[in-house]
Symmetry: C2
Subunit: 378 residues, 2 copies
């Protein structure tokens, strides 16, 4: 176990015993949210940070589970002395509603039927997540988050928090995100969904009741995801045209890049036990995210009542959510004379860069969070 | 029927009654090549143009089949008064070996077994295609092509022609191609192949004997292909976030871009009857293409003995084979003081641009082909 880690952690469960009326028009009568916390909440409860996760993430942001060698997904950035410094902040990670790591989702039992929700689980939007995460905030007795922080789909939740609950967060840290998906982004999601839904083991989403999982579709979706998270450059540097063995002139894996992608796909579909219906829901939440839509499709209008200070971060080689997309966010904030810092970080790691070590990114992130800590007396 | 078309056309079959020893180490004892010709071969047989097709293309380059409303795939560029002017040139389109439109391929009967070749069809490389196309050249009594022309995978065949048969072509027109695939390119191909091969209806490639086709996998492969042929910009302009109807909050098609991709996928997998094993073979030919490999991985060395004059064309928004990739070809030719013209065409149509009308592209292409025609007295 590394020394600058929050160390051993355990998830907790918060049961929300009131209905959630989703944007999609459904009602979830009650639900669980699984979450983790690191660091200490200070006396005036001003040092709390909410971390929102991306497509395949969860509440296990940092630290280790007993007997598990692998730390949480943002171990590089959350811990003692790290950009989100758990010596100063009380950090909350939460598994989103609709997820598959403990929070109520498609694999949970629908109390009305006694069967897994499966495909009947309501479509969840980023707005719904903000509502449910706000219940957790109340439950923890936090008046205002010192910051809400997230990358990718997590960053979209941060944006929605700032718009829908302007007084509930002091700062918004939006990393490698976009104010809405492009047609190409939606198209990639649609190919992934079609891969899952056309897998004969999908059974219209009722695979659990059939005792199977749509492994092939899930693996394909993940392969495609990985492909878009990495930059062309990095793939070239990492794999080039290197062969795994020698040219065999058959359809086995020959190039290293093939081997890598197949491994990632299979690992995700089998070992990680990621729920296929959750994958579908998360991609839909991405597609639907469009906070400007409620404000005459004008992002500047959407940001008019925002109170949070913003840090917006993008990465040069991220072609999924390119720096141009982050700049749309920055411009719309500046249109409203909001307080915004923006950093475009040089990186060859594509969209994945938001998860990976990078001294300049760490520096920018630490400096901003240090300012947040000082503001809240942490 | 349009006036500036070659009009009604009919394919012919050339039976090659000698074995082809493939680069992959297999032997194809004999094979058919289906081809079409337009225009008249002149007296000294100096005005012949060979057009090489891309992944899903074939020999039906221009004109119409009786009763068919849809012209050949390059109707915009091949015909009377068009850049490849059939009033001046004798144009040959050929379906590649391993294809599924009449030339011997995986769906043909393997004379040794009496069953379709299926997955036993040898892996075919671009070099093998040049060998087989050269047999057709001999058969047609053509000493030297006035030009060999192709886009995408077709352009790669042109490059290989220029290297392997330097005296057999006067000009080489290489459009929207690359001297070899990048790791990202290979990765996209690998996802497409995995989609096909993991379809339960694939049956290890013996689907024909099972009376099925791997429709789902083929549709996915095509959706992914289309996604990479279009630019992000164009998809944005063409579809944006436009809804097909209204937000339904379910997994039906909601956005126009989803509808478009699903339609393309289904059309390819069902109506076009494209053979899945051919799709696999073609993507492998792309992956393996690397003419520099035989020359110490030095493209300049590979081009040392080239005699053809080159026209190289790229398109600004093509992210599959970007202008930078074409420039690699141009640089390696210039290293050898070869005759090369290069045009980077402004277009928002991505990789597909090589098929679509574009006045500047047409102008450049026509001017070059006019020069070729004058050189050969056509």
């Amino acid at each position: 176990m590394k020394e600058n880690s929050v160390g051993l952690v355990k998830p907790k469960t918060f049961h929300v015993d009131e209905p959630l009326h989703t944007v999609s028009g459904s009602v979830i009568p009650a639900y669980d949210l699984v979450y983790e916390t690191y660091g200490q909440l200070n006396a005036d409860k001003s040092n709390a940070i909410l971390i929102c996760h991306a497509l395949s993430g969860n509440h296990h942001v940092a630290g280790y589970y007993d007997g598990d060698e692998k730390p949480g997904w943002w171990e590089h950035y959350v811990g003692p002395g790290k950009p989100i410094d758990t010596n100063r902040f009380f950090v909350v990670g939460v598994n989103n509603l609709g997820g598959c790591h403990g929070s109520t989702g498609p694999a949970s039992i629908n109390p009305e039927t006694g069967r897994p929700w499966g495909p009947d689980f309501p479509i969840i939007t980023v707005k719904d997540w903000v509502v449910s995460q706000d219940k957790l905030r109340e439950h923890l007795g936090i008046e205002q988050w010192a910051a809400v922080v997230g990358g990718s789909l997590g960053g979209m939740q941060v944006i929605q928090w700032a718009i829908d609950r302007p007084d509930r967060l002091r700062h918004a840290v939006v990393i490698a995100a976009a104010p809405r998906l492009s047609a190409q982004n939606i198209a990639f999601n649609e190919v992934a969904r079609t891969a899952i839904m056309s897998d004969p083991d999908f059974h219209g989403g009722r695979y659990l009741e059939h005792g199977v999982i749509p492994k092939r579709g899930l693996a394909l979706a993940r392969m495609l995801g990985h492909l878009t998270y990495l930059s062309d450059d990095l793939m070239g540097k990492k794999f080039g045209r290197e062969l795994r063995d020698r040219l065999k002139y058959n359809f086995d894996v020959e190039f290293q890049v093939e081997s890598y992608l197949r491994y990632q796909g299979e690992k995700f579909a089998t070992r990680s036990k990621f729920d296929a219906n959750t994958y579908l829901l998360m991609t839909k939440a991405l597609d639907y995210f469009d906070p400007a839509a409620e404000y005459d499709h004008d992002l500047s209008k959407a940001f008019a009542r925002v109170q949070a200070g913003f840090l917006v971060v993008s990465f040069t080689s991220d072609w999924r959510f390119s720096p141009e997309r982050s700049e749309e966010i920055v411009r719309a904030l500046l249109d409203n004379d909001k307080n915004v810092s923006y950093a475009e970080i040089e990186s060859q790691h594509g969209h994945d860069a938001f998860l990976l070590p990078n001294p300049f990114y760490e520096g920018v992130f630490s400096a901003y969070m240090d300012r947040v800590a000082r503001e809240v007396g942490a």
